[in-house]
C-alpha cells in the first residue's frame, strides 16, 4: 500500500502525543461545528458591528448603533413577549407532560412502546403543516368556531387566531414530545420501591411526589424544560402563522431583518442579544434549580 508511510507517521504522531488522540476521534465533529456553526457565528458577530448598506449588504464601517437601537420600547416589548411565551410554554408543558410521561412510564410494557410511538408520531409530518392545521381550526371560520356556533354556544366567532394564546397552543403542541421524552426517561428509571418506602414512612401521595418523585426526576425536568424553552425563544414559524403581526416574537424580528428589511447588521445584533440572554437565563436556571451537579453535567 502506498499510504503505509503516511499511516505510520500518523500513528507515530499519536503515540508520541497521547493527549491529542481524542482530537483524532473528534476531528469530524470539530470540522462540522467549525464550518457550520462557528464560522457563521463569526460572520454575524462581525456584521452586527457594521453599518447597513443602502440596498442590503453592509458598509465596512464600525458602529454600536445596531445594539443601541435595540434599546427601544418597541423591541424590548417583543423581547419580553418572547420570554413570557417561552416561559409559559415550558410551564404548560411541564404540567401537561409530567402526568403523561408518568402514565406512560408506569404503563404495561406492551402499551408503553405504543404510547411512546404515539408521542413521536407527529414528527412524521413537518411542523409547518401541523401549524397550518391549527390555523384551520382556530380561524374565525374555522372548525372550532364552527362547532361552537353549531352547538349554539356562541353567536359571533371568537377571535382565536393571531393571539398570544394561539402561539402558546401551537408551541405547546409542537414541543410536547421534547418535554415528554426526557421526563419519560427519568421517570422510567425511578425505583418504585423508593415510592413505597416514602409511603411506608408516612408520606401522603402529594408529599411523596414533592419529596421523592420530583427530586429524583429532576434531570428529566431540567432537560425537558431546556429542550422546550430554548427552541421556543428562537421560534418564528409558529409565531408567524398563529401570532401574525399582533404578537410578534423575536424570531420573527430577526427573520424580518434578514429577509424583507434587508438589515443584516441589525438582525445579527438582535440574534446576539437573544443568545446572550438565553445563555444567562439557562445558566441561572441550572444554578437555581439544579444545584452543583446539574451545572457540572452541563459543563
Amino acid at each position: 500500500m502506498e499510504n503505509t508511510g503516511l499511516r505510520k507517521r500518523i500513528l507515530k504522531f499519536f503515540n508520541r502525543h497521547e493527549n491529542l488522540r481524542s482530537f483524532g476521534v473528534l476531528s469530524p465533529c470539530i470540522f462540522w461545528i467549525g464550518i457550520f456553526f462557528l464560522l457563521p457565528l463569526l460572520f454575524m458577530a462581525t456584521y452586527s458591528f457594521l453599518e447597513r448598506g443602502l440596498y442590503g449588504g453592509v458598509n465596512w464601517l464600525f458602529t454600536w448603533e445596531n445594539y443601541t437601537r435595540f434599546v427601544d420600547p418597541l423591541y424590548l416589548k417583543i423581547l419580553l413577549r418572547t420570554f413570557r411565551i417561552s416561559f409559559l410554554t415550558t410551564v404548560i408543558l411541564l404540567i401537561v407532560g409530567y402526568p403523561m410521561a408518568y402514565r406512560i412510564a408506569r404503563a404495561d410494557k406492551r402499551w408503553r412502546n405504543i404510547l411512546l410511538f404515539l408521542v413521536i408520531l407527529p414528527f412524521w409530518t413537518s411542523d409547518l403543516i401541523r401549524t397550518y392545521a391549527w390555523m384551520l381550526i382556530l380561524r374565525d371560520t374555522g372548525l372550532l368556531n364552527g362547532l361552537l356556533k353549531y352547538l349554539h354556544i356562541i353567536r359571533e366567532p371568537l377571535s382565536l387566531l393571531y393571539t398570544e394564546g394561539a402561539i402558546l397552543l401551537g408551541l405547546a403542541y409542537v414541543y410536547l414530545p421534547f418535554m415528554v421524552l426526557p421526563l419519560y426517561a427519568s421517570i422510567e428509571k425511578l425505583d418504585t420501591s423508593l415510592l413505597e418506602a416514602a409511603e411506608d414512612l408516612g408520606a401522603t401521595p402529594f408529599w411523596r411526589f414533592l419529596k421523592v418523585t420530583v427530586p429524583l426526576t429532576k434531570s428529566g425536568i431540567l432537560a425537558g424544560s431546556l429542550l422546550v424553552f430554548i427552541p421556543s425563544v428562537g421560534v418564528f414559524v409558529v409565531s408567524d402563522l398563529l401570532g401574525g403581526a399582533k404578537a410578534m416574537m423575536i424570531g420573527n424580528l430577526v427573520q424580518l431583518q434578514f429577509g424583507p428589511a434587508r438589515n443584516w447588521p441589525f438582525g445579527s445584533a438582535a440574534s446576539f442579544i437573544l443568545m446572550t440572554i438565553v445563555l444567562l437565563a439557562v445558566f441561572g436556571y441550572l444554578k437555581f434549580a439544579g444545584g452543583k451537579e446539574a451545572l457540572e453535567e452541563v459543563r
Binding site: S193, A198, L201, G202, L216
Partner: protein, 363 residues
Amino acid sequence: MDVSVELKGVTKRFDEVTAVDNVSLKIRRGEFFSLLGPSGCGKTTTLRLVAGFEHPSEGKILINNADVSNKRPYERNVNTVFQNYALFPHLTVAGNIQFGLERKRTPKDEMLRLVVEALDLVRLNYMGDRYPHQLSGGQQQRVALARALILRPEVLLLDEPLGALDLKLRKEMQLELKSLQEKIGITFIYVTHDQEEALTMSDRIAVMETGRLAQVGTAEEIYEYPKTRFVADFIGESNFFSGKITAIDDNHLYLITDGGLKITLPADKAHTAGQHINFSVRPEKFRVEPEPGTSDWENQFIGEIVNKIYLGESIHYVIALSAKENINVFLKKERSGPQKTVFSIGDKVHVSWHRDDSVILVD
C-alpha cells in the same frame, strides 16, 4: 394474649394466581416472628399486606386490634425495612432517617436529638452527612433500620434485610438485630428463605408453602416436630420412611416399612392398625456402632455404609438399611485420632435410634 398483628382468613389473588391463601395468624406484642419459606410461597406478599402495599382480596388484617385492611401504608403505624434498603439517593443518611419525622412536623431540635439517638442505636455515629452511595451494604442496612425504627412503629416489617450481605456480616447482623429487637421491644415480622436465619433469631416461625401456612411454632417445635413432609424437608435435613401400622398399644406404635424394617414409634391415638403412614427421622438422631449391644433403643438394624462425605465438624454417611431404604446420618467426630465413629465405605454397622425420634407426618 397481647396481640399486635392479627390476620383473619387473609387471601390475596393477583389475576389468576393466589399468592396468599386463607392465612390466619396472631402475632404477639414484642415478638420476633419469622415468615419462612421458599421463593414464591407468599411470605413477601403476606408482609406487603401487613405493610399496606397490597390489600387483601378476602379476610381482615388487624393491627393493635384495629381493622386496617383497607388503610394505605401512610395510615398504618407500621414501618418496613426493604430488601434492597430503598434508601433515598438524593438525601443524606440524616435526611433519610428524619424523612418520616419531617412529615410529622417534629420540632427541629427534637428531630436532631432523635436522629442522633437513632444513629447511635445502629452504631452509625457521625455518619449523618454521608450519602447512601458512600456507605457499605451493611451500613446502608443499618440506615434503613434506623429510618424505620425512629418512627416507633407498632410493628417493624423486615423483608429479607440481610439477603444482600456476605455470610460473615450476615451472621453478625443476625445477632445484632436480635439483641436490638429485645432492647427496644417492638414486634418484628421477618421474612426470610434462610431456615438457619429463622431458627437463630425468631421467637416463633411460620413456615409457608404455596400461599398457605404449613406450620407455626417455636424454632424447636418446628425442627423437632415437623407436621408435614414439606416442613421436615425445608427445615434442616430428614430421612423419610413410609410403612403400614401393624399394632398399637398404650405407649408404642408398631410398623413395618415398605422396605421390610420393623419399627417402633411413639403411640399416636389418631392412627389405627393397617393404616399407611409417613414418618421422618433427623440425620443426627442415629447411633452408629461397629458392634451391637451398647444401645438399648428400640429400633436396631444392621446396615452397610454406601457413601461418606467429610463435612469438617461432622461426617455425613449414607447407610443402606434395606434394599429400598438408604438413610443419611450425620456423626460428630467426638475424639481425635483413630476411633470407632469413623467408618469406611462397605463397612457393616449397627444403626439404632430411639422411638421418640421418629416423627409421624400428616402427609
